[in-house]
Symmetry: C2
Subunit: 433 residues, 2 copies
Amino acid sequence: ISDNKDKTLLTLLSEEHPADIAEILEGLGPDDATYLFKLLDSELSAEALLEINEDDREKILKNLSAEEIAFEIDELDTDDAADIISELPQERVTEVISEIDDDDHAKDIVELLRYEEGTAGSLMAKELVKVKETWMVPTCVRKMRSQAQEVRRVHSIYVVDQDNHLIGRLSLKDLLVASPKDKISSIYIPKVDSVHVNDKGEDVARLMQKYDLEAIPVVDDNNVLIGRITIDDIVDLIIEEAEKDYQMAAGITEDIDADDSIFDKTKARLPWLILGLVGGLAAAAIMGGFEDALTRFPELFFFTPLIAAMAGNVGVQSSAIIVQGLANDNIKGSMVNRMFKEIGLSMVNGIILAALIFVFGFFLDYNTNISITISISLIIVIIMASLVGTFVPLILDKNGIDPAVATGPFITTSNDIFGIFIFFYIAKVILGF
Amino acid sequence: ISDNKDKTLLTLLSEEHPADIAEILEGLGPDDATYLFKLLDSELSAEALLEINEDDREKILKNLSAEEIAFEIDELDTDDAADIISELPQERVTEVISEIDDDDHAKDIVELLRYEEGTAGSLMAKELVKVKETWMVPTCVRKMRSQAQEVRRVHSIYVVDQDNHLIGRLSLKDLLVASPKDKISSIYIPKVDSVHVNDKGEDVARLMQKYDLEAIPVVDDNNVLIGRITIDDIVDLIIEEAEKDYQMAAGITEDIDADDSIFDKTKARLPWLILGLVGGLAAAAIMGGFEDALTRFPELFFFTPLIAAMAGNVGVQSSAIIVQGLANDNIKGSMVNRMFKEIGLSMVNGIILAALIFVFGFFLDYNTNISITISISLIIVIIMASLVGTFVPLILDKNGIDPAVATGPFITTSNDIFGIFIFFYIAKVILGF
């Protein structure tokens, strides 16, 4: 397609949504993509740049001069502009910023770059519609019109006092219904949710979800309005967090896609596999210690994978429930209570499973003592595994570590080892070797 | 608190957000909660009702008459009203609907109840702001004012023709800037994304995320505008889906909380544990078949848990990547290609891990033949496990089954069995027993 018909191509693409253009660009090689990218008019290309995945964006940006990048940046909202600039190598950042035509825009971007990743400050945009409480309705509408040119979507209108302190919000509906003689101070809503610039992104997301907000103002230590966060960025954050937790539970440490390189994938997957390997060696060492029992009770060794698997599964189940509960902030009540409940639950599950083992054992003609050993071990191992699964994430969380690391390989591996150890120890007591 | 000071309580609560009141109600017993609930003014109580979790809501609704419920429903948007009514027992549904004062509201709710769960129809609300292309700007503003009374938030203004066909949207910004002499047909944007009433909720969510939409109109087969979906409901949907996938990966079949009853938790957790048990029995049977090797090569039995654990971990990692890729709709390219890439990746991981086994084996003084057997088995088992992890979800997806069921216990259990079988078979070939 990319040979000569630039004009037809352009008219074709100008009808498309930037997200769709981004997909087309991702499908091309870096040179073709850059060529096509430069062809697009700057509003469209800037938006498309935003939607392209990070790897492909990096390749296109490499082919552009600082001036060309600044030109794209000029078209973007401050938050998106800051996101893209922060991906550039350090030496290009200053270069690109100095090339931005609009000085205010450049200043806002530099401010946003200062905030730490994952904070409200790093998620917010400087663009917003704000009105002073002292204005009359017609002044307000006039001022809003000029502000609205800059703001892609008017979510909420924030009301500030003379010193830019956030004091409330104005509903567009009320403004539509208001008489021209009203003053803003008489029609605004003095209650408004806001977040502090240093609040964590996940907390902002939880707040916005709980109160069904589409935008939330961001204030500094002095309650001065300095930006706003919109729901589209929060949706992206929520999805990203969910994917990270899901991958973590599966034993993948870095964000990777199905189509990433083998090297990236190995880097993300190998650490947890090595952990599993070490766990397996520990298990082998434990079993080696009970070698004497090998000839008299070989069944014990046949059932070790069963015990290990059950310990792992139960642990993962328990930890998943706790990790989600912590994420949703609904883990309440005393630890002792939770412990008794968890023991009760595991007893119920354990007894049902032990009974099944017994039934199978009867039909498959196992030695009764072996059946008893396996059944009792299973109940105890399940209780232990569910306690580990419940309390490891709770303890990690108390110590400021993301509890999500606990689910998956970490819990599985440690429960495998504990489970096997308990199993052989109980067998030793019951069977007497 | 709930003894006599109703008035102080009320003034205290009337300042709170419905979501916070919901939390207070959840903390009370059903009788106190109902008492407090009836005390609240109906707008606040209706909103709070919406935010309460399903179990507690059911208890409060049980204590209310059909008339009282209808009174709450009257205050809610059609989509929320339909959600609550659909939770009632069938015989109360008709009763409540007949008690709703506003006939149009009742009709809209009945219409929404017809749509299947999980479709765009079940997510949409009937409330929206729509204008006809033939109107002039002042007429439009006047009509919008009266429509806006009913709509909590004016997201987008949809433009329809005489027969209610969706033909575009109007930006509030453009309306603010427009001159009173303009006709809507000259200022509206003729491009608007919309979804069909039968589209799946997840697809709607993907579309809204991709295009950063805050509301999307819903049309029927004839492109007639029949409702709109707002981002807050989509945020809830995304979180719910992510939680379901996370729980599924951990072997939990139903949506449960950390504080659900033992019975509910057992119901959700036991099926997967039984699957694991059956897998463990199969593994025991396989190992029993190789009993002859027990005395000569006891190490084989010590290392079985290691092999099983690695097979399980690798399978879960591979399947998690594919399940997420499918959810994000970015699994492209040929199957054969994917297979070679997956084999390459597993070879790299497998060889590194096998080398580690060798090093450990050297220091722990293992028999060389045993080390070779374990190392080679590990590489082959990892390749097999990653192929199973990759292709099982792909095949499930092709057959219209949610691939998320594949991650977790299902993959772990089957890979355990395969892994152990392969391990002993390779051992038999290498060690010759």
